[in-house]
Each structure stands twice: as structure tokens, then as C-alpha cells.
Amino acid sequence: MSKILIIAEHDGSKLNASTLKSVTCAAKIAGASIDVAVLAADGAAVAAQAAAITGVSKVLVIDHPANVEPLAAVLAPQIAKAAAGYTHVFGPSTTFGKDVMPRVAALLGVSQVSDIMTVEGPHRFKRPIYAGNAILTIDVPADSKVVATVRVASFEAAATGGSAGIEKFAAQAALPSHTRFVARTGAATGRPDLQSASRVVSGGRALGSADNFKLIYSLADRMGAAVGASRAAVDAGYVANDLQVGQTGKIIAPELYVAVGISGAIQHMTGIKDARTIVAINKDGEAPIFEAADIGLVGDLFAILPALEKALGG
């Protein structure tokens, strides 16, 4: 029987939605028992949230002062210890999981399955390669521990309402001091989180300036949407890197994605493949974005955006 340990992503007080999506992925393995590990300086609050996820049997709390920031070099040896007795160790394919999980896999002496998008069996998975332009089905050897990251855009968040038991776990691993956290800077915008928002309005290079990007923010606020951007817009300095959607940015799956002035390079499309409805607004009717769009409108975004905002109840 599969025994799965999921590594929780959190900010010290709040469990990240990526963990609930990882649980949904794990639950696709028939008959699996699912535990969640919370590594923190004081994991009590996060553990309580993890214990409420439907389908979770047990939460392991691994408290250590060194776990105050999620440093892969510090977390990985503790996770490798906790992994004993488990057949599978899953983490989210977010920047947190991409950092820590391969380090865990190497300590356990196995390759990692990156970006599970479909579970076909306890050792058979589908994952995207070539920026999602091909889908690979692989078999992990049956006698090998499975260390994997979960492509969060491919799974819904698990329900809550359960009440799993919470246990302390002392990892007793030697922790390095060679890696030290200095700072984290991020925009607390008050807008929905790009990764988990049900609606996203994204702007591209055609916006022309950071100032013009206000049009995107304004429409997003009208729609209750998160704001995203193409790589071109980020590279041009219109917005910060954490808004980038695409192969090298965030992979998202909102109900509604509105792409404004984005041509639709393959690398961008990779990030929005799973969006339920894609709306494209672009002045170039030949732009590749229209091939993927469910609703396309050719025209000048500087005229369309204010009109759209007004039509939506301005």
C-alpha cells in the first residue's frame, strides 16, 4: 500500500493552497494513506490547518529554530529522515518545492518526478516536457521511493473539515549553517494571489510603460482579478518578476484569463494552458494568442480597456 508524505508549504502562520492541491494529487493513488509534514520554527498553527484537510491521516510537526525560513539545505536533511517508512514524498511544484524536493531526492538517492500533472498509478505519472509541448508518461521502478513535485495547476484544492492527529517528530539531522536567509521582498498588493486566483488580467509589452499598466490594475480591480504579466512586460520593467506568467514564471489555471497586449509566445501559453476561458485583446489579428483564445477581440487596448471597465459596471 502507498504511504505518502506531503511536505507542507507555508509562511510560518498560514498553510499555502499548494499543499491542498498536493493532497488531491496524492489521493489519486488508490488506497494511499496521506500524511503531511510541517517544518517550522513553531508549526502548531500551520499543523492545525493541515490536520483539517480531508483525506489526511496524520500531521508530523518538525519544529526547529533553524526552520524559521524555508532554506532547502536546512529542510532537506530533516525531510529525508522523516521520509523513512514512506513510499512517496510529494511537494508542490512552486518555487518552494522546486528548491527543496530535488535536494531531498538526492539525499534519498533517487531521481525526482518533476511536475506530476496526472497520476496513472502508484508508480506511473504524466508530466509536461518541452514547455508543455509534449506530455511524458513515465514508470518509476516499483522498488524505488517516489520523490515528486506536483504541478499545482493540474489539481483542485482538497476539501477541509477533517481532523487528523498531530504528532511531533524529532528529525535529529545535522543541520548546516552555510546558507543564511537575508531578506525577502514582495509586493503585498491587497489583490488576489496570482497563483490561486480564479480570475487573472495580464498585460504584455504592448502596454508600453509601467504607468500604462495602471489600466490593467484598474480592470483587474473592477473584476476582482489578480494581475499577471508576460515575460516581455517584466523584462521591460513594467512590473515585478513575481507577476510573470509562463514557462519560467507562474503556471496558473484560473476560471478566466484575460490577456491584454500579449502576443502569445509558446513560453507564455505554457503558463495558461489550463485556464478555463482565455480572452485575448490584441491589435494584431495574426498574434498567436488568438489560436488559443476562447474569445478574441482585435483592437487598440487603450480604447478597449476603459470601455470594457465601463461596460462591467463603471
Binding site: 509562511d11 532554506l71 532547502a72 512552486t94 518555487t95 518552494f96 522546486k98 528548491d99 527543496v100 524536493m101 535536494r103 531531498v104 531526492a105 538526492a106 539525499l107 533517487v110 531521481s111 525526482q112 518526478v113 518533476s114 506511473r124 516536457i129 518541452y130 514547455a131 509534449a134 506530455i135 511524458l136 508518461t137 513515465i138 514508470d139 518509476v140 521502478p141 552555510h178 546558507t179 543564511r180 536567509f181 537575508v182 525577502r184 514582495g186 509586493a187 480570475r199 513575481d242 514557462q247 519560467t248 507562474k250 476560471e255 478566466l256 509558446i266 494552458k273 476561458t277 480572452v279 488559443a292 483564445a293 476562447d294 474569445i295 478574441g296 477581440l297 482585435v298 483592437g299 470594457l308
Partner: protein, 249 residues
């Protein structure tokens, strides 16, 4: 000798439209342009800039792949790497095996810094950097957008979902680099001529005690599902109507 080791992978050029083979065993690579993985090119550029600041003496480019990978290593030498090592194999080599080979290379080459792309654009695994750091028991920083070397330490900024994170790491360390770290230089013709004379050692997997290829068995490779063709609307009023019909506004 202050040495930087850079991983260079040969991949299908990023401009090539990927097509899956009709028998679902792989993607078509015959007659397709091959290049240095773009993230690895950025890693190499950063290594060259560190050397040009006088903070390193030598840049070593290493790769694992078929004999034709010499083309990418010659390009790396033309960009400015001092020497190259190719671990030649026609077999697929999984990230854990790559990290195992790289670990043996750092044991013999003793770099103070290893720079790699954050992922290769073919397999999109993004595992080699953290795995090498684990096997080496050294610091890692994934998705670096800024690197500052200061004696026995480095201060790095990395791109994370929440914004930017700054870490201080003791050297040696393994850094995987992101797109915004730098813009790689173009190779000039005289440099291509010069690169032909630079040392390029060819080794085998057996030299590193690695026999096994990929860790996982490929069952099949499929083209991704295509989206249904959408509709075009002619103005904002029609757009709003279409959104309303779908219950989205």
C-alpha cells in the same frame, strides 16, 4: 586556482516548434537545430563576468551527451570558457546520474563555484543544481537573478513566488540561474577560431562509475491536448455579452 564550473546542456533550440514522433517514443530531433540550453548560456555568461572582474582564474564548461555535444562546448569555449569536458554517451542520463557525475567532477576540479541553468528546456526537470548541492553537502540557490561574490561568500538574490529572496551562502556553492541575471554575449568569428585550440577532454560514463541511464522508463510521449477553437468578437459590447453567456461576469 579560482575555478568556476558551468554545466552546459545540448537541447533542441528554443525557437524550434516541438513535434512528437508518430510512434509516441519521443520528439523529433532529426534535422532540428540544437543549441546550448538558454539558462546554461546565462550561467556561462555570469561565470565569464565573474572572471572578467578578476574574481576567478578559470571557467570550465562541462557537459554530458552525445559526441555532437562538442559543438555546444566549442560555442561555450568561443564565448570565453577556458576549457571543456564532455562526458560522452548516447544514452539518456537522468538528473540524479548527472548530479553524481558532476559531484565527481567537483571532487577532481575543486571549483569555488558551480553555475547551472535553473532548468533545461527539454526535460524541464530543474533537479541537477539542488541534487549536486545535496551530494556535495554545500549551499544551493535556485533561480538566481543577482550574484555578488565577496571572498569566501556570495550574496544571491533569487526569484521566488512571493517576490525576491536574498541569501548569503558560503563558498563553494551551487547556483542555478534565471533569465534576468544577465544577457549572454554574442560569439565573434575570431573567438570561434580561437576556441578550436582550447582543450576539450572527452570522457566516458565508465570514468565516473556510472552505468545506468535514465532512472525512469518512458512509457510514451504524447502531443498535448489542443484547445477548442474560440470565437472572435468585434467590439466591447460583444465581448461582455460573450462573457455573460459563459457566466463569467
Amino acid at each position: 586556482m579560482r575555478r568556476i564550473m558551468v554545466g552546459v546542456k545540448r537541447v533542441v533550440d528554443y525557437n524550434v516548434r516541438i513535434r512528437v514522433k508518430p510512434d509516441n517514443t519521443g520528439v523529433i530531433t532529426e534535422g532540428v537545430k540544437m543549441s546550448i540550453n538558454p539558462f546554461d548560456e546565462i550561467a556561462l555568461e555570469e561565470a565569464l563576468r565573474i572572471k572578467e572582474k578578476g574574481l576567478a582564474d578559470e571557467v570550465l564548461a562541462v557537459s554530458i551527451g552525445p559526441g555532437d555535444t562538442q559543438q555546444q562546448l566549442r560555442t561555450a569555449l568561443a564565448m570565453g570558457a577556458d576549457r571543456a569536458i564532455l562526458v560522452q554517451t548516447d544514452a539518456a542520463v537522468g538528473p540524479y546520474s548527472v548530479a553524481t557525475i558532476f559531484k565527481k567532477l567537483v571532487d577532481s576540479e575543486q571549483p569555488f563555484l558551480v553555475l547551472l541553468g535553473k532548468q533545461a528546456i527539454d526535460d524541464d526537470n530543474g533537479q541537477t543544481g539542488p541534487m549536486l548541492a545535496a551530494l556535495w553537502d554545500r549551499p544551493q540557490a535556485v533561480s538566481c537573478s543577482k550574484v555578488a561574490i565577496d571572498g569566501s561568500k556570495a550574496t544571491v538574490t533569487r526569484e521566488v513566488d512571493a517576490g525576491l529572496e536574498t541569501l548569503e551562502v558560503d563558498l563553494p556553492a551551487v547556483l542555478s540561474v534565471d533569465l534576468r541575471l544577465n544577457e549572454p554575449r554574442y560569439v565573434k568569428l575570431p573567438d570561434i577560431m580561437k576556441a578550436k585550440k582550447k582543450p576539450l577532454d572527452v570522457k566516458s560514463l565508465a570514468d565516473f562509475g556510472v552505468t545506468e541511464g535514465a532512472a525512469f522508463t518512458t512509457v510514451r510521449i504524447d502531443a498535448p491536448p489542443t484547445r477548442q477553437k474560440g470565437i472572435m468578437v468585434k467590439d466591447v459590447a460583444e465581448l461582455v455579452a460573450a462573457l455573460q453567456k459563459k457566466g463569467l461576469v
